[in-house]
């Protein structure tokens, strides 16, 4: 390593990579070389910055200037102006919505300003493929402390006292899990890192694996010492190729440096890790199903107790924590349980990462202290709803969670408050919805997902999710009956009560919360045969607004079914008998002259 005067930190999380981040990185390297600056300026690919909406992103340090939405064509200008002449390029900076002046510095941008980084502390700062960069920012210091200065019991006590709870869903105290496994006399003992992040709309675990894989490793090695485990498995979804690659590199580097394998750091402790690839099954995120999957079998949950801490992988004591939890551990050991205790609320300590997505201005990953209000996240950090639309709901906790309405915006985000409101922390997906989102359609979406992903072991879950899906689907098609709502509530409750694992036990939540907070939308679909949000295809029709139509023929050309009539400069007309309601005409119209008509009841034939 050598001294450079400036570092160009190119975000290389999946979001930015899918927008062409590696092309930007190559262009920067080429341009830097062309200007003969390669000895002064280093181009680094880092993990996800979290502000995915604005990718590709480059942060210039030490200046702290944040460039966003970069194109390859911008690169020569950027290098010449900023790095050669020292003039930051305004037109590539972030301009907040409804403002005119760009915000040059990353730390001044609202999205970043209110976050508190613990797990994501290295995001956008280190090259995740270089172990020495992780070490430079205090990496493996906690491990050294745990191996040389602390007894296994002291490590467990520290985690217990910190109040850390599982970040993967249910929020079980991590220290208790460890203590239970440590108590077991049998060996070998195993550790599993649960990186089977299956919640649609949640991607914080992927981001941690991509941005800071060594933090996960360090947490696991500390955990291994605490419970006396000899072998660990990192389970990662095959849909996350970049995370898999970075973790492979990290494990190889750790092994080469003697941080994994035999006699770790010369302390006589042995532990090793291997990666297990998932193959796409939502239920394998459940811990007993995950164990089956690591063993190479069908990911079907089993009855608990015995819990994995007693009988886990191949019948041996096993500790399973998710990615975010493992990555939190080194921070607690390094900075002390007292420090961690001081963050968050009475029952929910520390920070939590949320994936803020959907109808929100600033899509991305945010790490905030527990107890922050939904309003602060959605409006303070997220920048509110785009296109001047109204907030309707935020869906928290994935398919196991629920939809919370505007009146709960001041709810503090912690495990207990969310559960009381009918949602759950889950892995931390937050999908924001506006008035153009139909809540019945959302319930249908999750039920479809759940009935598809139910492993089929428990009748209540297999049949319950399917029946609920059929009923809700009928409602969205205008075929609902008044009695359906009571039936849905009953089914949701039974599915909850009679199913064995978390998937079934929470499968009713999307239906129950939408029924609880948005019953009027169900009623509109059933009684008035209309979809207030204009989403459900059977209950809307596309019409041309005569006063806005300019007769430009764009819609006519876009229509795949040839059902729009009208000559140039004449008001167009949609033939309802032929319309397949694909929405192509609405998308094509530049004058907002096509609308889903939804105010009057549409007769179902």
């Amino acid at each position: 390593m050598k001294q450079y005067r400036a570092h160009l930190l190119v975000c290389a999380g999946t979001g930015c990579v899918s927008c062409g981040a590696f092309k930007i990185k190559a262009a920067l390297e080429q341009e830097v070389k062309k200007r003969n600056l390669q000895d002064e300026i280093q181009v680094v690919a880092t993990g996800c910055n979290g502000f995915c909406e604005r990718g590709p992103i480059v942060l210039v340090q030490p200046d702290g200037i944040f460039y966003q939405l970069l194109q390859v064509e911008d690169v020569p200008h950027l290098v010449e102006e900023h790095l050669l002449k020292g003039r930051p390029v305004k037109k590539l900076m972030y301009v907040p919505p409804a403002e005119k002046q760009p915000v040059p510095k990353m730390k001044d941008i609202e999205f970043f300003k209110h976050q508190r980084l613990i797990v994501l502390r290295n995001r956008g700062r280190i090259d995740p493929e270089k172990i020495e960069e992780y070490i430079a920012f205090d990496g493996y210091e906690a491990l050294a402390k745990a191996l040389s200065e602390m007894t296994p019991q002291a490590v467990i006590d520290e985690i217990l006292f910190s109040g850390l709870r599982g970040r993967g869903g249910a929020g079980f105290p991590t220290g208790k899990k460890w203590a239970a496994a440590a108590k077991e006399k049998r060996s070998p003992k195993y550790l599993i890192c649960n990186g089977d992040e299956g919640d649609p709309g949640a991607f914080m675990d992927r981001s941690v694996l991509e941005a800071d894989p060594h933090a996960v490793l360090e947490g696991m090695i500390i955990g291994a010492k605490a419970v006396g485990a000899s072998k660990g498995f990192v389970y990662i979804r095959h849909e996350y190729p970049l995370a898999l690659k970075r973790m492979e590199i990290a494990i190889a580097q750790a092994r080469e440096s003697g941080l994994l394998g035999q006699d770790i750091l010369g302390t006589g402790f042995d532990f090793d890790l291997e990666i297990v690839q998932g193959a796409g099954a939502f239920v394998s995120g459940e811990e007993s199903a995950l164990i089956a999957s690591v063993e190479g079998r069908i990911a079907m949950p089993r009855q608990r107790p015995p819990y994995p801490a007693q009988r886990g992988l191949w019948g041996q004591p096993t500790v399973i924590n998710n990615v975010e939890t493992w990555a939190t551990v080194p921070n607690i050991i390094r900075r002390g349980a007292d420090w961690f205790q001081g963050l968050g609320t009475e029952t929910s300590k520390g920070t939590k990462i949320f994936a803020l997505v959907g109808k929100i201005a600033n899509t991305g990953l945010v790490e905030v202290p527990m107890g922050i209000s939904l309003r602060e996240i959605v409006y303070g950090i997220g920048g509110g709803i785009p296109d001047k639309r109204d907030f309707k709901a935020v869906q928290i906790g994935g398919p196991s969670g629920g939809c919370l309405p505007a009146k709960l915006l001041d709810l503090p985000v912690d495990y207990e408050s969310l559960t009381a409101a009918g949602a759950m922390m889950g892995s931390g997906g937050m999908i924001v919805m506006d008035d153009k989102t139909c809540m019945v359609d959302i319930a249908k979406y999750f039920l479809n997902f759940l009935q598809d992903e139910s492993c089929g072991k428990c009748v209540s879950c297999r049949e319950g999710t399917q029946r609920m899906y059929e009923i809700v689907k009928a409602i969205t098609e205008g075929k609902g009956k008044e009695s359906d709502l009571a039936l849905l509530e009953e089914l949701a409750q039974i599915t909850k009560d009679a199913s064995m694992c978390g998937l079934g036990q929470t499968a009713g939540n999307p239906v129950l919360t939408t029924l609880r907070y948005f019953r009027h939308e169900y009623e509109a679909h059933i009684l008035d045969k209309r979809c207030p949000a204009g989403v459900c295809k059977s209950l809307i029709r596309y019409v041309v607004l005569a006063e806005k139509c300019t007769g430009c023929q764009s819609c006519k050309k876009a229509c795949p079914n040839d059902c729009i009539k009208g000559t140039l400069k004449d008001i167009h007309l949609i033939d309802q008998s032929k319309c397949i309601k694909c929405g192509a005409c609405k998308e094509a119209c530049k004058f907002e002259a096509i609308e889903e008509q939804r105010d009057e009841a549409i007769q179902i034939i």
């Binding site: 001294q3 005067r5 400036a6 030490p62 002449k85 280190i126 960069e133 010369g266 302390t267």
Partner: protein, 130 residues
Amino acid sequence: MPAKKKLTIQDLAKIREKTKSLMTIREGEGRARVTVHMGTCGIAAGARDIMDALLGEIGKANIQDVIVTTSGCAGLCNAEPMMTVEIKNQPPVKYGQLTPDKLRKIFVQHILGGQMVTDLVLVVGSETVY
């Protein structure tokens, strides 16, 4: 820098010490900020050599918190190559007509030692910005 041998706890601390100095720049904070004026005129007058010498000195001294940036022409082209040294809580100091040797002197005496090299100083303080 692939670590071929297995690390001990002492090695870990050593790596941290060594690499930290190279990485603090990513935090965007430091005790001193040195701006080398690199407009076309500055580069033509040899600002590139000054930059090279400066980076060389920082590397040799193995210090962590000196931030080097560039800026455009400082407007006093006959004094090029120029640089501005800003020590925390002190007014900026501009040096002109630099050579790598003069740079080394400034580096040791001012940037490391905190004492202005008076005979090389062009001006102290900033320009007034309206």
